[in-house]
């Protein structure tokens, strides 16, 4: 494996696959899955129990609320595509969670297409929605069609997102707390675009002036007018949002999640290793960011983010990663 120093923009897709897999499989209980899955019948919402024989996929069981069947279909189609493309010959069962976050308390290793807590023993897989929409559907082209050079952007920061984040002791969450803290800022424009969890009454009970932290949906074009875009975890990790924003000529910076909010997606270990997503503590966000700006060549980091996004959003790369993850799982599953 190449050292971090070499990994500016000189790593290959294979380097990234190797690194991600090594980290994803670091903690797992796959060798116990064979016995466990023989009689396991306790799936949660948007989980599937899948059996692979040769390169054929069979869904043995699933829990799917009405209207979400297409999500299962996309996932199974993607797995099928990988199995057929690489002519894999596997013999295993696994649980795949395609819901927004798999529980940390699950002891038996599952595949997860969304984020899960960094300390969990689950294995991340590419989300076929991200792959399908951004990559195969070329949505990324739409996002970036109105992008402008960094030098022409406004020297300001923007955050847009829904009110989804893990609930905190104060009954709010990181996104809300951040928007509240910076609601009067001239430099940081942080707003919630959709309230899915917090009712007006709940906000009122916290003395929150909803109008001050609310905005209409903001187009990618409008967001890309800012030099800096702020990323804050939602329910887990917003893999698609993170990717198109990293692909842009703006710099993506993250508000550091607290321990219990620190979820990872399948490429997260590599992302962290490369140090390409500047991350700042919530409490001292702006001060730390200003210091960072003075000490770093921001445009160089943008190049690194763009290169990273170009690797992750490559459909061939996502298929290669999935192929290797399935093979590794199969090996551990049968070795047990």
């Amino acid at each position: 494996m190449k050292t971090k120093e070499k990994m500016s923009i000189s790593y290959t897709s294979k380097d990234a696959v190797d690194f991600c897999l090594e980290n994803e499989f670091k903690n797992n209980s796959i060798k116990f899955n064979k016995t466990f899955l023989e009689k396991h019948d306790n799936l949660k919402e948007l989980e599937l129990l899948i059996q692979i024989k040769g390169c054929e996929v069979e869904i043995i069981n699933n829990i799917c609320s009405e209207g979400n069947e297409w999500k299962f279909q996309m996932f199974v189609n993607f797995i099928n595509l990988v199995l057929k493309t690489y002519k894999l010959d596997l013999d295993c069962k696994f649980i795949a969670c395609i819901n927004d976050g798999v529980l940390l308390t699950d002891k038996y290793t599952k595949f997860s297409t969304f984020g899960r807590h960094y300390s969990s023993n689950h294995i991340g897989l590419p989300d076929p929605l991200v792959c399908g929409v951004l990559t195969f559907g070329q949505k990324i082209r739409e996002y970036l069609s109105d992008d402008i050079p960094f030098s022409e952007k406004k020297d300001s920061m923007i955050f847009r997102g829904s009110d989804t984040s893990k609930q905190r002791e104060n009954l709010l969450n990181q996104r809300l707390d951040f928007c509240l803290k910076h609601q009067e800022s001239d430099y940081i424009d942080s707003k919630i675009t959709f309230f899915a969890h917090y009712s007006d009454d709940m906000l009122l009970s916290h003395n929150i002036d909803k109008d001050k932290i609310t905005s209409e949906r903001t187009s990618s074009k409008k967001q890309l007018e800012h030099k800096y875009i702020i990323y804050i975890n939602g329910n887990t990790v917003s893999g698609d949002r993170m990717m198109w924003q990293m692909a842009s000529n703006s710099l993506l910076v993250q508000v550091k999640p607290k321990e219990e909010e620190n979820d990872y997606i399948w490429y997260h270990s590599f992302l962290n290793e490369l140090d390409i997503l500047p991350t700042f503590e919530e409490e001292s966000f702006l001060e730390d960011f200003e210091k960072f700006k003075k000490e770093n060549d921001v445009e160089e980091i943008i190049k690194k983010q763009q290169y990273f996004a170009s690797i992750i959003l490559d459909s061939g790369f996502q298929m290669l990663y999935t192929k290797e993850a399935l093979e590794k799982y199969n090996e551990l599953y049968n070795a047990g």
Partner: protein, 199 residues
Amino acid sequence: MLVSHKLKFLYIHIPKNWGSSIYNSFKKIDPDLIDTHMPDEGNLVDKTHMLPFHHKEYQVIQSSIDDGYKIFCTIRNPEERFYSSLKYAQKYLGFQNHRFFQYSYINSIRNKGYLQNCMFIHGCPQYEFIFDGDKKITDKEFVCDENLFSNLSDYFGVEVSASHKNPSDKEDKLTTGVEFEDFKEIYAKDIEIYKELKK
């Protein structure tokens, strides 16, 4: 790929290496010059710019090799060619003029995407066209520079004149926002070959 029975040569057409000029120039000397410029087959093979492992599949190519025709190619400054291929990707392959898409294209080159899909062949390193494994298949390489056509004239013993002036790619570098320096390890062998020829 050009085949001339009159001058008994096979020209390995490495993309972005002034191949159209070579074609136009030799066409004036040999009206029967064969150009394998044909549509590709399901995006698998670009017959204009064939890699050595495809040669045996095409009789006109393989027989010229078997008959001992002179095999030559043109080699271009790798940095210039890099920008030229990016410009091509932008103009003809739909890669938008944005660094992310240019990186995506370069990733495909780095991952040898040209072996699966000929849309990436224009960025394929030059050495891949002239080496079949460890075996070099060309008898002679010419540098794409101001002396190219006089050197060709000397080699073939006929007057080969340039059909048109090849555009400078200096401006291409300015519009891409991508640095060759960041990706030159992909073209390390090309740089060696080019330097050796320039000597």
